[in-house]
Symmetry: C2
DNA sequence: TATTGTTATACTCTATAACTATA
DNA sequence: TATAGTTATAGAGTATAACAATA
């Protein structure tokens, strides 16, 4: 236990462990890149989620957190001038969050700064890229609930 | 943008997006399962990390956070009787964190409760399992810094 | 002197509940 | 009455800096 040789076909538990390890390393790289640009992981994640304008409520859904949290996160992004709230035409209750040009720039820089991820995924050849994408496509709908 | 058809070979950016989506969905399933058993994601992650006894300092390394945070996290696990601090024989400064039997039980329940992950990864056939494991093995060392 | 774990502090994230302004 | 966003509150995670005990 802990030092599994895994000679045969991996069990479901083995796969979960492997994916968890890759996911953890990926998000640490993401968090580091975001921090280098003065953002917390949640702020960077929110910025990524408002590349297309999104109502506050829908943003909460995308971030998988309560709507009350989004107020503070967007407040901080707005004070950094990385996003802004706009009025919705159809319903005066809703506010739509949109990324600013500065926000798009920071987002590009963060993505470019994920050097480990670039190194890791850049190492895959065409066949491996196709295989990985196909596996993700099969697994994702089941993992995220259809 | 956003609705990419991806007919050809996926770019590195495509791969990063796919892996991020799978990682996010996986950790949401993990967080839900942990919450059903009264644990925060950090507490569950820490519990997973102390299956073999680990000094406080090393635990901080495994969790990727500052050593000062670990005090509080282990305090809470200890108050729930899921982990305990033990004295180290060699160095009287260090405290070693070990999981309790109750902790191991909760950990098993959490793993079993990750129903979406079981469903998703359980759907893969032998060939796909081997391919996914191999891709993770290639990518992980580059992603986590050798 | 250097290291281990802790404490103090400040900020962020998070959920719950209650509020307001619309619908 | 129902919904969108906010506020108030409380608990938890996080980093920084300073500290006691030990090496």
């Amino acid at each position: 236990m802990g030092t599994t040789v895994t000679t045969g076909v991996p069990t479901t538990a083995d796969l979960m462990e492997a994916v968890a390890a890759v996911g953890t390393a990926y998000f640490q790289d993401f968090a580091s890149a975001a921090a280098r640009h003065g953002l917390t992981p949640s702020q960077a994640k929110a910025l990524k989620a408002v590349q297309e304008p999104v109502p506050m409520r829908a943003l909460a859904g995308r971030l998988g957190c309560d709507a009350s949290n989004v107020t503070g996160i967007v407040d901080r992004l707005e004070s950094l001038e990385l996003a802004r709230r706009e009025a919705a035409a159809s319903d005066r209750r809703v506010k739509i969050v949109a990324i600013t040009e500065q926000g798009e720039e920071i987002l590009s820089l963060i993505r470019a700064d994920m050097t480990r991820a670039h190194h890791a995924f850049g190492s895959l050849d065409d066949e491996q890229r196709i295989a990985l994408t196909s596996l993700c496509r099969q697994v994702l709908p089941l993992l995220s609930g259809q």
